[in-house]
Structure formats: structure tokens, C-alpha cells
């Protein structure tokens, strides 16, 4: 029996589950002698058959239990309690080496709280029952989950950082060889539907978890026409679940009869295991933000993913290099989860013709920036996935666009957070790195002066916040000094604690101005909430740590802003010199 027991709770949907496969590999690499148990929702159990490195998969049937509660008119029923307690006992009686909770919800935090382990990572509860986030990366995740416009690190990287050991995160992985029957079965489905070995298979994943994340079925139809018209050897597979049948039938029924044989509607007709193999057989997948997109990343199929509505491309974008993300060029994208949009125009921004042009280039292996420059792609921002300097996934413009202050801040914030959250990478960013980032944007300098003044303003705010942190730390140190000297003056201590509260408020008010600063504030607040000390000494020590961390994040962000600022200025001055020389 393997001695090191590790438990992973991942009660999320299929996409998130696949995104955690990279972490599984990392865990196994760090703890080769471990026995890893994964807890998943039964609805997504099937996909786990393709996971490497997991020794045991257990389901947690939330739907069934909640159904029982519903049948019981939401009343307490001891049978449910007893069932749950028994179910949990198989985990609560084990002392785990590590428990990871990859589920970002309140329910799983209570699950986590009930377990015994040497180390916990993820969402849990403290002794008093308050929600806490264990691990800096989890804190960061909490922040960006609330402030989506500051989201800049892919979920796979976030999962990867939950285990701090130095090791490349690698990629998401679905091992199809683990289920040979599924392969055979998928092959049979394809051959029964006339898909030949030499067909170019383009798959459409037409579904999504919300209506706002769905590209229109009419556009998928138009895209199908354009693709088949361009190449008769293209076979289009429409993939989706039972509830995607409407879209599938629509496309199949409305395609011109001469193209009819090129379309295979598989919506609601495949198992998850077959789907994995069908996606693997596909040459490219055109998809909304779906679990199928992550399957494609897991089996190495090319992807063009269309984002609309609430789809947060940065945290859930495809975790594989050179894949295409198409975003609508509209400032409100992505909308917050709470938004109930009744003017769903972002989907209209993404024309079928634009997608066709991109898919064609991708299929022809010619998806280079220079090949896109001359194309009219309408109101979209195509991005391509690349690993950045620190080995984190990044999505960079496929077409050069003007560097906005928002984009610039997000890039800098990303690099800044990566360098502080990952202890194994040097936190230096060279001029070349900066140049590489800036190279993705157009040379237009019309508005550069605005960027400089915007950056100067941002720096003023950051400086203020750094000062607030320093002041609070000074106050805390003075209390600690008194406590250790056993001469506590309560009036003085009260005044110092009030001053610290004031710093808190000031940090919040200043942090609210910029999304990324607000994320840092949420991280700080979460740390504050997690303080478990009951005495003044413990409170002060913990608070000191929290402020110190806050300050570090701010200082690091500031340093990078200054470096970027200088580099941008240098570029501009070089260009104006060139202009000057030319004019001479």
C-alpha cells in the first residue's frame, strides 16, 4: 500500500476537471509513491477514465442528495445526514499528506474543513467557520474570480501553483489509450456516418453552459457553408449534448442539399468517451467556451474558440500553444456573471467570414501575423496562445493592435503576479522581455502621452497604498514591541489599532480605482479574515505578515510599471530619432 495519501476534491464541471490534469501529473512527479484519490461529481465521472496519475476516483452525488432534500420539503432528515456522515467517513478517517480543494464554492469548503491532513490547499473554513483560502495562488484566484477584468492567469497555471515545487506545469492531458473500447466505439460512430480516413474533419462544439456564451447557430451554419464550399473534403461534425440537438438539427437541415453529406450531426448521440476520441480525430475544433474545448486541448487537437458574453478567456482559455481565441472587440466583454444582458450584440461582432478566414489559415498551417495583417476580420480581436517568459500561459494579439492602458496594466500585472506567486522563478524582467510584450502591439504612438500620464497616476495611487501598508506595519510593530516588553498601554494600543483600521479603509478606497489593485485588496481582506489568533500578539503578527505581503505585491507591480514605462519611452525616443534622421 502506498504510504502517502493525497486527496483532490474537484466538484466542478468537465472543463475545469480537464484543466486540473496538469496538476495531477505534477503531484505524481513530486510524490511518486503517493496514492491519489480524486472526488468528482458523478455527471463528470466518465471523463476521469482518461486521467493519468489518479489512483482512485470517487463520486460525490450532490444532485442526488439535493434531490432528497427537495423531496423532504427542504427539511432536515436524519437519513440524509447519516448518509452524508457515512460517506464522508471514508475520507475523514484518513490522515492525508495533502488535500487539494479545487472547487471554488462554499459547499466544498465545508467538505474540506471536515478532513484531516498535514497540509490543505484551496478553499476551506477556519475554526470559527469563516471561509478561508489556503495558498497564495488560491487567494489570487479568489480576487480575480470577483474582478474578472483583472483575470490574467490561466486556471491550469493556478492549479499548478498550488503545489509550489519547481516543475514545469506541462499541459493538460487526456490519455485515450486508457480506454481502448471508447476509441473503437468512436471509430464505429464515425465510419457509420461516412467519415473517411482522409477527410479533413472540422468539428463544431455548438453548446455552452449559458446562452450568452453561445455563438449563433445561424453563424455556425454559415461557417459550415464557407468551409465546405472552399474544400469539398471537409467533413463537419456537430458535437454537443442532448440539449444542443436544436442547433445540430438546424445546421443539418438548413445546409444546402449538395453539402448535406459533408455535415454529420452528432449532438446528443455520443458518450463522453466517444466524444474524446472524435475530438482527437478532428483536425480542428471550432467551439464556444465548452468542456469540449478542453478535451481538444487535452488530446492535442487544434482549436478556434469563440468567446462571447460571460466567457472569461484568460482563466479558462485553451491550455495549449498556438491555439486561437476570438474575442469580440467590445469594451463590455467579458460581462460579469451577474449581468443579465439584454443587448447580446457581442456575438454579432464575430462574423462567420472572419472565423472562416482564421480556420482556413490554421488548417493550411499558415496562421502567421503577416498573413492576417491584410485581412478584414471585422470587429474581433483574435489572440493566440503562447507561454510567457515565466512559463505561464498567455494570450497575445494575433493581429497587431494599439496598446491600451488597460491591456498594458493587465500584462504588467500578470508578469508581476507570476513572479511573486511562483517562488521558483527569478523576478526579473529584462528589457528584451518587455520588448517582446510590446512587439505584439502596433507602433502607433498617437496616444502614448496619455498612457504615460495614466501610468503616472497609477503610480501615485500605488505609492499611497505602499505608504498605508508601511504605516500599518509601523503601528503593528509598536504594539508588538510593547507586548514583548510587557508594558501594554491599552489606550496606545487602541489608537494604533484604529490607525490600522484607517489604513485598511484607505487601502480599500485607493484599491477600488484600478481592477488589479482591487484584486490585491481582496487578497489582503481574505488573509485578514483567515487570521485565527485569539490574542493581540497573534493578531499583530498575522496582520504584520498580511500587510507585508500586500506591500510586496504593490512594490513588485510598481517596479515593473516603472520598467515598462522606461522601455516604452525609450522606444518612442528611438522612433522619433529615426524619424528625425529620416527627415534630415
Amino acid at each position: 500500500m502506498k504510504s502517502v495519501k493525497i486527496l483532490i476534491i474537484n466538484l466542478t464541471r468537465m472543463g475545469d476537471l480537464i484543466e486540473s490534469t496538469s496538476l495531477f501529473r505534477k503531484i505524481k512527479a513530486v510524490y511518486p509513491d503517493s496514492f491519489i484519490t480524486l472526488i468528482v461529481l458523478p455527471e463528470f465521472y466518465e471523463i476521469t477514465g482518461f486521467f493519468d496519475c489518479i489512483d482512485e476516483v470517487v463520486t460525490f452525488d450532490v444532485t442526488n442528495i439535493s434531490g432528497d432534500i427537495f423531496k423532504n420539503n427542504y427539511n432536515f432528515n436524519y437519513k440524509i445526514y447519516d448518509y452524508l456522515e457515512n460517506y464522508l467517513s471514508r475520507f475523514t478517517e484518513i490522515n492525508y499528506e495533502i488535500v487539494f480543494n479545487l472547487t471554488h464554492d462554499v459547499m466544498s469548503s465545508y467538505f474540506m474543513y471536515l478532513l484531516k491532513a498535514d497540509k490543505f490547499v484551496g478553499f476551506s473554513r477556519n475554526r470559527e467557520g469563516n471561509l478561508i483560502q489556503i495558498g497564495e495562488i488560491v487567494l489570487f484566484f479568489t480576487g480575480v474570480a470577483k474582478i474578472r477584468k483583472a483575470s490574467c492567469i490561466n486556471l491550469v497555471d493556478i492549479y499548478g501553483e498550488m503545489l509550489p515545487q519547481k516543475m514545469p506545469v506541462g499541459r493538460v492531458y487526456l490519455n485515450t489509450s486508457k480506454k481502448p473500447d471508447a476509441y473503437k466505439s468512436a471509430k464505429k460512430v464515425l465510419s457509420e456516418n461516412g467519415v473517411k480516413e482522409d477527410d479533413i474533419v472540422v468539428s463544431f462544439a455548438v453548446g455552452a453552459s449559458s446562452e450568452l456564451k453561445k455563438w449563433k447557430k445561424e453563424y455556425f451554419l454559415e461557417l459550415a457553408r464557407l468551409l465546405i464550399k472552399d474544400n469539398k473534403n471537409i467533413r463537419i461534425l456537430i458535437l454537443g449534448a442532448e440539449y444542443d440537438k436544436v442547433a445540430g438539427e438546424y445546421i443539418k437541415e438548413n445546409i444546402k442539399s449538395k453539402f448535406e453529406d459533408n455535415i454529420v450531426d452528432l449532438t446528443g448521440r455520443t458518450s463522453v468517451s466517444e466524444l474524446v476520441n472524435i475530438v482527437k480525430r478532428s483536425d480542428i475544433l471550432i467551439t464556444n467556451d465548452t468542456g469540449t474545448m478542453h478535451i481538444a486541448a487535452g488530446v492535442g487537437t487544434d482549436i478556434v474558440v469563440i468567446y462571447t458574453g460571460q466567457a472569461g478567456y484568460f482563466e479558462t482559455g485553451p491550455y495549449a500553444e498556438n491555439q486561437v481565441l476570438v474575442l469580440p472587440d467590445i469594451p463590455c466583454f467579458p460581462c460579469d456573471f451577474s449581468v443579465k444582458c439584454n443587448n447580446f450584440i457581442c456575438a454579432d461582432y464575430i462574423a462567420p467570414d472572419s472565423i472562416f478566414k482564421i480556420v482556413k489559415l490554421k488548417l493550411e498551417n499558415r496562421l502567421e501575423r503577416e498573413n492576417l495583417e491584410g485581412l478584414n476580420l471585422g470587429k474581433i480581436n483574435p489572440l493566440i496562445s503562447k507561454f510567457d517568459k515565466f512559463g505561464f500561459m498567455d494570450y497575445i494579439p494575433l493581429k497587431k493592435i494599439r496598446l491600451s492602458f488597460n491591456d498594458l496594466r493587465l500584462k504588467i500585472f500578470k508578469l508581476s503576479m507570476e513572479s511573486v506567486l511562483n517562488k521558483n522563478i527569478p523576478d526579473t524582467v529584462t528589457k528584451e522581455d518587455i520588448a517582446e510584450v510590446l512587439n505584439n502591439y502596433s507602433d502607433s504612438t498617437d496616444e502614448d502621452e496619455n498612457i504615460f500620464s495614466d501610468m503616472a497616476e497609477l503610480l501615485v495611487i500605488i505609492d499611497k497604498m505602499i505608504n498605508f501598508c508601511s504605516n500599518a506595519m509601523k503601528d503593528l510593530k509598536s504594539i508588538l514591541k510593547d507586548i514583548t516588553g510587557l508594558r501594554i498601554d491599552y489606550n496606545k494600543a487602541t489608537a494604533a489599532l484604529n490607525a490600522i483600521e484607517n489604513s485598511d479603509v484607505n487601502l480599500l478606497f485607493n484599491g477600488l480605482i484600478y481592477d488589479e489593485l482591487f484584486v490585491l485588496n481582496i487578497m489582503y481582506k481574505s488573509c485578514k479574515q483567515s487570521i485565527a489568533s485569539y490574542d493581540l500578539f497573534g493578531f499583530c503578527v498575522d496582520s504584520l505578515k498580511n500587510f507585508s505581503k500586500y506591500k510586496l505585491y504593490l512594490q513588485n507591480y510598481k517596479r515593473l510599471i516603472v520598467e515598462f514605462n522606461e522601455e516604452i519611452r525609450r522606444n518612442i525616443s528611438m522612433k522619433s530619432d529615426e524619424k528625425f534622421n529620416l527627415n534630415r
Binding site: V62, T63, I65, S66, G67, I69, F70, N73, Y74, N75, F76, Y78, I80, Y81, D82, L84, E85, L88, T92, D105, V106, M107, Y110, F111, Y113, L114, R125, R127, E128, G129, Y490, N491, T494, A495, L497, N498
Partner: protein
Amino acid sequence: MDFFKTNLEKIKRKNINLYNLLISGNNLDLEFNLAVIKTKKDGLNSLRINNITIHSVYDPESEAVKWAKANLDVSGHRSGRIIIFGLGAGYHVKKMIKELLEITGKKGRMPVIDVIEPALETLLFLLKNFDFSDILDYINIIIYDNGKDGEPEKSLNLSEYNLLLFSLPSYQKIFGDIYSLIFKKYTIGQLFNVSKFKISVVQPIYGGSSTIGNYIHKAFLNEGYNADIIDFSHFYQAYKSFENYTTNSADLEALRQDFLNVLGETLMVKIRENPPDLLLFMAQAPVNRTVLSKIREMGIKTAYWFVEDFRLMTYWDKIAPFVDYFFTIQKDDFSERLKGLGINNYYYMELACLPDFHRKLNTYEIDKKDMDFYGSGVSFAGAGYYNRRNMFLKLTNIRGLKIWGRDWDMNSPLGLFIKNNNNGFTEEEAVKIYNYSKININLHSSSYHWDINPEGDFLNPRFYEIMGCGGFQLVDYRKYMKPEFEPGKDFAVFKDIIDLKRKIEYYLEHEDERNEIARHGYEKVGKYHTYERRVRDIMDIVLINSFDSFKSKFISRRVGIDKLLDEIKENEELYNIIKSMIDKGLIRGGKVSVDELAEYVKSGGGRLSKAEAILLLIQQIRQKITIF
């Protein structure tokens, strides 16, 4: 044969208070016709009270066996406590003890048995004529005198879980009113589910009663009721604005009346959508006879808390006849006036404090800045009424005097002492003032007495709130201070300005005495004068008097709760959580929702236990339910 001495000896050992009562109770006015009668069984006597025979004259022992068995069969044997209404000659009590001893065996836990005898006179007669020496060790005798001061009722604790109430049928006939009251209280205590009882507190559009409305609402919530507030305060601006359209007072009054009628209709609309079980109107709530009548037609019970001086605010006679319960802060004269109008539904209900809010600041909460700003040697918080303006002018030589409130004359020398620029203070600020002042003066307002109202009766809110905050209070004498309070122990009293000045000087110098009085007052209000306590008093009155209307609320609690507790008995942690909810009256019908349980867990402190975490987990799972 006189058994009094033997019985008394036993009682003395067990209950000295009862013993003292019994030995001092020989000079009672005799109300009952009492007689010992012989039965057909040799040596066994029965008795008659008011010509009703208490025990069988044929075979009182067999009758008692049947009585004990029947009651225990129906009610089960697992009760922790039994109340028997009627001591009689004790045959039934004796047999019940015997039955219980057999059931519980030597090791089993014998339930506590309280026997209620409804009158001291009958008890004395029984103790003289019957030998209770073999049962007195097993029982507690309680004289129930209609709960005059609430004490017997408190010792009865009719809300205790799994309490059984048995009675002698003959006693029920003789003491019908008392039995009915006990039965109702028992039923309410055992079966009434606070969380299923909806109360709406209807607020006025302006005025001090809205603050009290907020406090009582919070207290209802604290007591577990489903309470909400119907707030009309946002209409105040509109109400005031009519002044801008006319200077004719008759027109203005007519417009305002029409406006209040609209608000009355608004209230009707609101309660039609979500009818409460009880509407509690605070003084000056926008209702009139028509609206009140309509509400009564809907079958909703109405209560009105008239927290005003009836001599100054005289509209009470237009309200009191049309509500089910009219609560007042004055009695005596006011009661007479109400009675004179044929109104009998009035109840004295004094004000209180809300310990959640009116509280002593903890050491770590003490703020130096606040202390400097709100604190002082002597302070007064309240509006600048006529009598206050007069009196405080005489205190201008007191160093550090701070006056908080509105409507003071800033042009008078007092202007120097008025804080916040005559803009009043918030309730939160009041708490700080009471906490940080060495002496809190309280002078009840009057618009026509020069300084102190010599006949002042009711106690203002501040009276309770200062003590609730642990503050030391120096207050003008009021008639209703006694017997509820002990002037001089709970607070200090002044009778005129000279006395006030002298006492200010004295208490500033005697910190220990001041602190001791503040502590005493703080404990007193915490115990007896909280809004939570008022909620209990109000609801006792409402539930007992509207017992039949609320019968449907008294669902079968015991059966369900027994089943629930039986199911979870192996799980000690869970058992303790649910049992504690039951004991607090939060679970009444044997059913508790997943949310109620989770909210209860969340309201507790300390380390989250395994059972608590599982309950919270279940609540989260419940929230994942999607209904298609």
C-alpha cells in the same frame, strides 16, 4: 386526625419558602367550602371542594390506579418532568409515583413531579386532613395564584421540552379559570412555533416611537419570530411638504388626513400580499378606525403600543377600541380612563432596552477620541423641552457639562454646552454618551412644568437605555420606578435642582458608589427590562387571549420532536444541537428546515464541530437544488 405537623416537617426540609408561607397562612379569608368525606373503603377518605367530590367515594385507590395508568399510557413514560394539577387527597399522585417507580426501576431516572394546588387555603386544608408523608419526598408542591407576579409561572417553566401536564377532572371543574390559563400556557409553551409566527411592526411616518419600533422588531427577531417592519418614514418628507402649499390650517389638516388615508390603504395592500399573524402598530402609525376594522375583518390580530403620554397625545380613544390589544406605558389614571370608555383590552407594557444595542463597551472598544468627544463628568442627552431649558440653566457652573440634543436655545448661555451644534445625536452616539459619561442626567420632559413634573409617572426610553449601557443615572423621581426598580440602588434620584446639584457633586467624588449603582442597574435591566422580555410579555398576552384564533399554529410538537430526537440520539453532537434548538423553542413541530438548522449553527460561536460542519454542508447542497 391532624397530619399538618408531620406534613409540614417534610415540607420544611424540602422547600423552606413554602413552609414559611404555610405557617404564616392561617389567617386567610376563607373562600372555599371544604369538607372531608368518608368513602366505602375502610380508612380512606375523600374530600369535597365547593360541593364537588374530588375522589371516588367508592374506591379512590382503584380510581387513582386507572388515572395514573391511563395518563402514562397515553403520554409515554419518557418525560423528564410531570405537572399534576390538583393535589387532592393525593391518591392519584401516590399511584402515579408507584407506576413510575415500577417503570423506571431502581436505576431509572424518576421524572420531577410538580403538583399544583391552586389556592393556599385548600392546600392548608389538605395538609391538615391527609397524610402525604410518603409522597412529599417525590413531589414539589406549587401554589398557583394566577401568576400574579409571574414567579409561580416561572418556576413551572411550561415551555420545557417534553413536559407532561395531568389534571384531576374534579379540579378542572372547580378551578376552571386557573386550569384553562395553565393549559393554554402549557399548550403555547409546548406547541407554539415562534419561527412560523409572522409579526409585522408598523412604524409611524415620524416620531420617537419608530426607534422603539425598531428595537422591538429586533427583539422579535432575537426571540426567533418571523418579524418584519412596515416602514412609512420615507413618506415624512411628503407629509411635511403640504405646508408648502397652504397656510390654512384646516386645509392642511384635511390634506394630511387624506394622505394618511392613502398610507392606510398602502398598509392594506401590503398586508393583503403577505398577511401577518399579528400587526403591532407603534404610536402614530398611519392607521385609523376604517383601516383597523378592515384588518380585523381579515382575521389578523392587531396590537397597538401607545408609547406616549396619554395626557398629551389624546388620539388614543380613536384607536384603542378598534385593536385587539392596546399596550400602554401608563396605568392607574389611564387605565381608569380607558375603562370608563368601556375599553378592556389594555395592558401596561413599560419600555425597555435592547441589550444587542444598548450595551457596555468592551475594554478593547474604548476609543480615546470618542471618550474625549462623548465623555464628560456630567451629561444630558435629550431634546430642549421647556422644563429642561429651565433646569439646565441652573447647572451652568458645572464644569464639563455636556448637553446633547435638538431644540435647545443656542442664544441662551446654555448654547455653550450644547454639543453637535444643536443637531441632536444618533442612537449609536447615545450609547457612547452613556458609556463615557460619569453621570448621566435624565430629566423627563415636560412642556408646562417649570422643571420637574411632581406627578410624573411613566419612565422614558432613556431611563432603561442608560442602565443598559452600564451608565450611572441621576434621574427625576417618577411614580413607576417602584416596585420594578430600587431607587438609590439601580440609579440615583433627585427631587429638585438643589438636590440634583448636591448629588452631582457627591457622585462625582464617590466613584465606587457610582460604579456600584451603575452595575446594579445594569444587571436589573438586563434581567427584567429588555425588549426581548417585552416580546415575551406581549406574546403571552396575545397568545393566551387569542388562543382559539392561533390554535392551528399549535401543531403536534411532541410526537414529531420525540421522533426526531429518537432518530438522532446516537449522534451526540447533532443531538445536542437539535435539543438546544428545541429547548429554545426554535423547533416546535418536530420538523426543522435545513436552512433553520444551518442558520442556528452560524449564529453560535466557538469552534465549528463536525456535526455543525456537516449541517452547513447540507445547507450548501440544498442550495444547489435546481427546480425545472
